[in-house]
Each structure stands twice: as structure tokens, then as C-alpha cells.
């Protein structure tokens, strides 16, 4: 199977989510946040926190292909994830998503009641939580999980209005947040030991914290401020002033318990020889595979969400988001046998690991590039036609090939699929540096492309990457078919009421027909 415009149009027409019930309300209760149904969307005035381990890719590189080291890394990620959940609960912060070792959380208390002074309280509790996280990772986690490289901690925070929706199916919880503040929090993440905030947050910080932040870069038009090395153990006076009690022993014991509950020999790692069934994965049943990892991000969608002036517009956007998401899933899964593993807001992470085996390396690369072209084709030629007045939504894709490690962490119903590997991080980097309608591939993927017409579309970009802009199957088809027409190699055949086209028709008559027109008498 491969991408086909007619099939894609039929799919989108059949299920454009026009009847999908969406209920937009303000976030007023914790229960609303925890038990969000797929039809529910909550508008939140809140602070978004991204907590990341900026050197995690180094730890992944350390593990390489060594199973025992990979087990240690899985255990570290699992323990960190569990403690992150406990820390969030302790500080009454909402958990949106824990992606591998990156946490996306939401400080939404006290609830917004049109009282501007409450924002200062939310900002204060969010920054306190950021310092707690930094303290925990540096002082406790790295000490207890000493069989992996020391993790760093970086936190990005941005406040504003965003919309929280649950896109998880079959009773699973998979929250996403739509809004520019959520994206900004991820964008402003700094290096190890940093906490980065926006100017709006800086303005309402208590004085004892204000003095710790310094002016940093302007990101997406927003002035940022950054503090480095804030830890309760190093700044006890700050903890006292803010009324924070940091119980290191309690968190150490908790971490040791989680570590001991997951002995290394209980973690089974096997190579994927058939398509990975994600539903069967647990922290004790992990898969590793040679794969092409890809990140596809919707460009422009966040802007529409931010510009939405009323609930009707938000409802329409959420429906469109579901429509785009469903189509992307079908392109990846049904058209090309790929796997969508994770959603990060309006970005999807997937892999293509079939066909298996070292001999199929180039096939996987070509097929993964086809996935990227298929996603661009669906966006530009099908979905945009259904987006009526919102035609400025495009997709930016990054791809890299290498080893990927796939597993699921967390409890049943709240499990999250994680996928890591040096090239997974590379694919993410390639996507981040891409703009609308671009496909950016690593040089290794580029080198495997055998179709000269596809290869020609990719131009050398910065670093070891190649980028194609506006590459879709219709564009590629027209180029190939025009060349074939001029060379006498174009052919068409009709089977089961459908015309099939080839650009490599044999010159002797058979199944394929060509036309040699005549000027007539």
C-alpha cells in the first residue's frame, strides 16, 4: 500500500469529525483535569512547565547497543518518571505528559477567577516546583541511580491561556495542550541546572526570587529570564523565605524503593523481528530495533488556537485537530506500516522499522521518506481543502535512521510509550530546525535514497542534513510522468474500474497502453 490522494480524500470526507462532540469549559476542578473525557476540552489560565534532562541523549549514547546498560537506562527513566509523578502530586501540579525523561506539567492552582493577583501565586508555585525538581535530580536521583551518567535538569516555564484535551483512546489518558504558552515553555528550555521563565512571569515573582533571575535571550518575541543552579540544599535561606520544606531523606527512600522494585534482571529487552505491538510493551518488556525515527509537527496550528476568539472557534479547531491526527495515523500505519508512538502537543513521534533486518536498511529509509512525503501530501492536497479558512496549517518533518528503543512506562490505562536513541534525538533536532512544508533528513537517510527524482528534491542544508521544501507525491508524480511521457515510457492500464499509471512502460504492447496521436487527414 502507498499514499493515494483519492483514498485520503475519501477517508477525510467520511470522517471529518464534524459531528464530534466537544465541550469547552474553564478548568475549575482537579477532577476535571484528571478525568478528562475525549469530548472534554478545558481552558486553563496556568503556567506550563517543561522539565527536561538535557544530557539524556549522552546517557543514551553511553548505553549504545549494550543490553545491560540499556536496562540501567530504562530503570533510571522509569524511576525518574515515578518520582516525577510523586513530586507533582506533592506540589499539587497537574501532569500533562511525561515523555521519556521530559515532563510537561501545568500549574493551574489557584484557579483563575478573573483575579490578576492569582497569577502571581501560580507563578510562585510553578517556580518553587522547578527548583524542587532541580534539587531532586542533582541531590537525590543522581546519587541513588549511580549506574547511569549524572542527569542534568532544565526547566522552562511560560504562563497564559491554553486548551487541554484528552486524545487517548480505549480509556487511555493522553493529554495534549494547545496554545502558544505550552510551546514557548519547551522552546525556552536552557542547559543543565537552568530555570527559564518569560518576562510576564518575572514581573510577578516575589522579590526573593526575582533577584536570582537574569535577563536572557528573546524567544519567539518574548523576553526570557534565567536562573542557574537554584537548589534548596544550596539556598536554604530562599527555601525558608518561600516557606518550602525540602525533605531529602524522604525522596531518597522513595527513589531507592522504586529502584529496588525494578531489578535489572526483570527487564527483558528483545530485538523486534515483526511489527511491534505497542500494547504489549511494559517496562519489563522492551523492544529495540533498527528504525527510521520521524517527528512531524503542525506548523501554524498553535497560532490559530491562540487567535481563537470564542468557544465555537476552539471547538472547530479541536475537531480539525482530530481530523488531521486521524489522517496522519492512517498514512503512517495503514499506508506504510509505520508506528505512531507519541503525541507532543501538535507534534507526532513515530518510527518505521519494517521490513526488519540489516539487508532492508535502504528500503526502510526510502519507505520512511515516503511516509514524510505522504504526510505532506495529505496536508497540502487533502486536509487543507477541509480546513476552509485555515489553510496556513502545514507540517514540518525531521527523519533520522539508527537504533531505536521502544517501551511503555507507567500504570495500566496511563501508560505512555517512550522511544529513545541517538537518532531519535537527531530526528527531533531536524524537525525543530525545519519550517513549514519541509522534510529534513539526516545524510544517512539521504544516502540510501535510490529514486533520483526524490533525491534531486533534497538540497544540502546546514550540518549533515538535506532538506526538501514542498515535496508531495502529486508534485513528484507530475515531474516523473512528464519525463516518462517525453521519453515514451508513460503507460496506463485499467483494472477493476481503476486507471493505473506507470512511468516505466515496456515499449512492446501488453498490459500498458500509451498514445501516439495523429494529426488526422
Amino acid at each position: 500500500m502507498a499514499w493515494d490522494e483519492q483514498r485520503s480524500k475519501d477517508r477525510v470526507q467520511e470522517n471529518d469529525f464534524g459531528d464530534f462532540e466537544v465541550d469547552v469549559r474553564d478548568l475549575r476542578r482537579t477532577m476535571d483535569f484528571r478525568n478528562l473525557a475525549t469530548k472534554d476540552v478545558r481552558r486553563a489560565e496556568a503556567v506550563h512547565l517543561y522539565v527536561d534532562v538535557p544530557n539524556f541523549h549522552r546517557a543514551v549514547e553511553d548505553a549504545g547497543n549494550d543490553k545491560q546498560k540499556q536496562r540501567k537506562l530504562v530503570r533510571a527513566a522509569s524511576v525518574l518518571r515515578k518520582v516525577q509523578g510523586d513530586l507533582l502530586e506533592h506540589d499539587d501540579i497537574g501532569d500533562i505528559q511525561r515523555q521519556t525523561v521530559r515532563l510537561h506539567a501545568l500549574a493551574f492552582k489557584p484557579y483563575d477567577t478573573d483575579d490578576a493577583s492569582l497569577e502571581a501565586d501560580r507563578v510562585r508555585s510553578a517556580v518553587i516546583h522547578a527548583i524542587t525538581h532541580n534539587t531532586y535530580i542533582v541531590d537525590v536521583f543522581n546519587d541513588v541511580l549511580d549506574d547511569v551518567r549524572d542527569f542534568g535538569c532544565a526547566v522552562g516555564l511560560a504562563s497564559g491561556t491554553s486548551y487541554i484535551a484528552n486524545i487517548g483512546r480505549h480509556g487511555n489518558r493522553e493529554l495534549i495542550s494547545l496554545g502558544s504558552c505550552a510551546n514557548l515553555a519547551a522552546k525556552i528550555l536552557g542547559g543543565k541546572g537552568t530555570i527559564t521563565i518569560t518576562d510576564g512571569m518575572f514581573d510577578v515573582l516575589p522579590d526573593c526570587l526575582k533577584g536570582r533571575f537574569k535577563k536572557e535571550a528573546v524567544v519567539a518575541g518574548v523576553q526570557t529570564y534565567r536562573a542557574t543552579g537554584l537548589r534548596w540544599s544550596q539556598q536554604p535561606e530562599l527555601a525558608e523565605e518561600l516557606g518550602v520544606t525540602w525533605d531529602e531523606d524522604k525522596w531518597r527512600k522513595k527513589t531507592e524503593t522504586y529502584r529496588d522494585d525494578l531489578p535489572l534482571d526483570s527487564i527483558e529487552i528483545s530485538d523486534a523481528t515483526v511489527k511491534i505491538d505497542v500494547e504489549t510493551l511494559t517496562e519489563c518488556n522492551c523492544k529495540r530495533t533498527a528504525a527510521v525515527a520521524f517527528f512531524a509537527d503542525l506548523d501554524g496550528f498553535t497560532r490559530y488556537v491562540q487567535e481563537a476568539e470564542d468557544d465555537d472557534q476552539v471547538v472547530s479547531l479541536i475537531r480539525q485537530f482530530h481530523m488531521i491526527r486521524a489522517e496522519f495515523h492512517t498514512v503512517v500505519g495503514a499506508d506504510y506500516e509505520g508506528l505512531v508512538l507519541q503525541h507532543r502537543g501538535d507534534c507526532i513521534l513515530g518510527i518505521l522499522h519494517l521490513p526488519p533486518g540489516a539487508d532492508s536498511h535502504s528500503k526502510r529509509c526510502e519507505k520512511a521518506v515516503d511516509i514524510a512525503i505522504g504526510l505532506q501530501s495529505s496536508m497540502e492536497h487533502v486536509l487543507n481543502e477541509h480546513l476552509t479558512d485555515r489553510k496556513d496549517i502545514h507540517v514540518a518533518i525531521g527523519l533520522a535512521v539508527g537504533k531505536a528503543f521502544v517501551t511503555r512506562l507507567g500504570k495500566k490505562g496511563r501508560r505512555v510509550t517512550i522511544c529513545f536513541g541517538p537518532e531519535v534525538s537527531e530526528a527531533e533536532g531536524l524537525q525543530v530546525s525545519s519550517t513549514a512544508r519541509q522534510i529534513r533528513v539526516s545524510s544517512e537517510v539521504y544516502d540510501q535514497l535510490s529514486d533520483e527524482d526524490v533525491k534531486e528534491e533534497f538540497k544540502k542544508a546546514g550540518g549533515a542534513a538535506y532538506v526538501a521544501t514542498g515535496l508531495t507525491f502529486p508534485k513528484l508524480d507530475e515531474k516523473k510522468e512528464e519525463e516518462a511521457a517525453r521519453a515514451g515510457l508513460l503507460g496506463a492500464s485499467v483494472e477493476q474500474g481503476r486507471v493505473t499509471v506507470t512511468t516505466n512502460a515496456p515499449t512492446t504492447p501488453g498490459t500498458w497502453y500509451n498514445s501516439t496521436p495523429w494529426g488526422g487527414n
Binding site: E5, R486, A487, Y513, N514, S515, T516, P517, W518, G520
Partner: protein, 193 residues
Amino acid sequence: MHWYERQPERWRAEQRIASQLLDGSCNGIDADGVAFVEGVFHVRSGHGHVYESVTIRIEYPHSFPDRGQPPRVVLLSHRDRWEVCADAHIYSDWSLCLFVPGETPVDFSRADSLTGLFAVLHTFLFKEHLFQRALKRQLVTGVVPEWPGESRSHGRTGVAEAVREIGKVGRNEPCPCGSGRKFKVCCMRLIGR
């Protein structure tokens, strides 16, 4: 008796194939007793992108399917967009010159020959799409467009080219030009054997 009366099964087969490949297909017999099918034909790329959606009418000659006279394909749409000229292989009555009739690989004696005609038509219309685009560009660039791919010369020269390509045409066989007459009394005298 008309061919569709003599061979009602064949006529039904033509209608069935047309209904599969034409959107909004209809068929009938006109006042002159000519059987026709018509509808919208989508010219698509290998991945299903629609280059053009053209409304066509396929008219069957009285002698069909004998005597080397293929159906006539007439363009009903695009008359406001496309230009009629000999190099475009569109006659002034908007019928399409798909091939030298005697040279076509489509065997019209077969019940499924219409699928072959649609396949030929598909490649022709894609090339026409390219040619008409080049015609429009000519106004700006001044570059005279060429038909993309092989085509036969105009008039009997083209028939001669086709005869050379075919290799041999018997004196009593239908003339490759599609006149319905024998070769010996039609083009043979003019182009030589």
C-alpha cells in the same frame, strides 16, 4: 440493423465499463442512430492526484467493432480553457485524435476493448494537459510547444509512418487511416505499399 442491436451483450459491456470509469456516466442512441456513452473522466497521477477532470463523449461508428473504425472521442468540457489546433491533436469539432486507427494496440473485437481505449485516453489527456500548459506559456516565453512524446505527422504522412511501424498492411485489410474502406482503395495508392 445497428451493431448494438446485433450485439446487445457487447453494448451492455461498453456501458458497464464506462460506468466504472466515468463519473455521472450516461449512455444512449442519438437521432442518427449513433450509440454513445458520456461522463466525466478524471486524469490522475500515479498517486491519485487529479490533473484534469474532463467531460467526454464516446461515439461508436455504425460499423463497430469491425473494419478498423474505433470509437470517436469528443471533448465536451475544457472548450473555454484549451486551444484547438492540429498540434494539439484536437479537431475543430473537439474530437480527439488519439492514434492512427490501424496502429492502435487496442483490439476492438474484444469485449473489454473500452478499458484499453480509456488507458490510451488517459495518457493522451495527460500529455494534452502538458501541451496546453505549454501553449499558455508560449504567450509569455515565445517558445513553441512540442507534443510530449511520440506523435504521427499530420495527414497521410502520419499514416505512412504508422504503416512502416506496423510492418505490413494487406491490400484488402481495412485502411489504417480509419476510413472504413479497404487499404488498396484508400491510402495505399497515395503512400505506396
